[in-house]
Amino acid sequence: MENNLKRTCLYDKHVALGALMSPFGGFDMPIQYTSIIEEHNAVRHACGIFDVSHMGEVLITGPEAEKLVGHLFTNDVREMTPGKVLYGMMLYPNGGVVDDLLVYKKGDNEFFLVINAANIAKDVAWMKENSTGFNAEVKDLSEDYAEVAVQGPKAEELIEKYLNVKVSDLEFYTFKELEIEGKQVIISRTGYTGEDGFEIYGSAEYINKVWDILVGSKEVAPCGLGCRDTLRFEVALPLYGHELSQDITPIEAGLGSFVKMDKPEFIGKEAIAQQKEHGIVQKVVGIELHEKAVPRSGYDIEVDGVRIGYVTTGYQSISTGKSVCMALIDNQYAALGTEVDVRIRKKTFKGTVCKKRFYQKNYKK
């Protein structure tokens, strides 16, 4: 299994930096270079760079590209102008989630979709399968694009200073396309950390160059997937397979605002309408423990000794020091302030249902 792991174009750099490597989404990825806490804090207070070349990219083109994306995607692409980015999901007819993704509108007949590494094969098959009858083409470009995320309050300043690319004119969730040395580069003001920042897509050659310049500047810390998870968790951004899955709908995950029911149609709309009408039986909530134990993914949540759900992601939050988790529990216990128990090994620890966002986002809008 491990022998089949894919490597990104930055693999040798990670190894040279002494990164701890681990499998993620079919790739051998850096978890940390120095320590998760140091890297987490670099992003919260200065700037960090992540190799996210494992992410998948799909291009949908053709006269009915917009119609097809609208069919597959929960958010509404009809009002988008070129240069805008939208977050949303692809759903199964039963409302379960195929994947969550970003959609970049490049032109009226051209959309660029960014999907999770572990789901590339499944997503591409899903898109193709459901494109029958649409005058549009689905093309998997995952092998062609490398990607880095440059995140943190100093990201704008440092990108402009070292990469000689103007990004201060980019608004939140917009992008620009550049041609650098004959190669196409996409840069968007997006990210997965709760901080201001940018995601840069390009050829392996260009992304290697960006990495070398920014890491070489010593002002941008190389950051692994370890802190990517602690950062996104603190601001309640979902991770597919944890807070979203084929068994967790966007409504249950508390992400209903990315599902536009006023669209004429999309796959899963019926099921979501039913959930909205009849209510949900399970919900993703936040839980804060009263003691300093660490609730981890998969641990049981109990009330009066009866299991009512499980932890989807949990940490001792690096930014706040609190022991907190997101958990999928029976909706009847989901009200803020409800007391629950979290089973951690042999003991149970008291916790209180709270808001999922444990740390304030610092986006530049």
Partner: protein, 126 residues
């Protein structure tokens, strides 16, 4: 290269025992703290709890994962290192200076089954 101290007993699961009379101080090795990364919580037993050789008696939690503590010896917990409640990162700073529990040994011959520093160094190289 991880630090290894002479004069301690070591287990394959990377705990150490320092023997003083009939008591043993138990901690984790420098190799273990390094492999775990930032330690954020130490789950320790209570005083008077019994611990059993090769059985779990608590856990060390890093940012990313929980790792069971396995007792290298059997006995009764007479003291736990309370400082670790407030500063679990002490284990990262010096894993040998900061013991986790102090145990009254119930069978000192169990120590014979543990490794010395030299043998343990071999394990860390594997």
């Amino acid at each position: 290269m991880s630090k290894i101290i002479e004069g301690l007993y070591y287990s394959e699961s990377h705990e150490w025992v320092k023997v003083e009379g009939n008591f043993g101080y138990i901690g984790i090795t420098d190799y273990a703290q390094h492999a775990l990364g930032n330690i954020v919580y130490v789950d320790m037993p209570d005083v008077d709890d019994e611990v059993e050789k090769d059985s779990e008696f608590g856990a060390v939690e890093s940012v990313k994962a929980a790792s069971d503590l396995i007792s290298p010896v059997s006995g009764t917990v007479v003291e736990v290192n309370e400082a670790l409640n407030d500063e679990p990162e002490l284990l990262n700073k010096d894993a040998f200076e900061n013991w986790i529990i102090k145990v009254e040994l119930s069978d000192a011959t169990e120590l014979d089954g543990l490794m010395d520093a030299k043998a343990y160094e071999g394990i860390c190289k594997e």
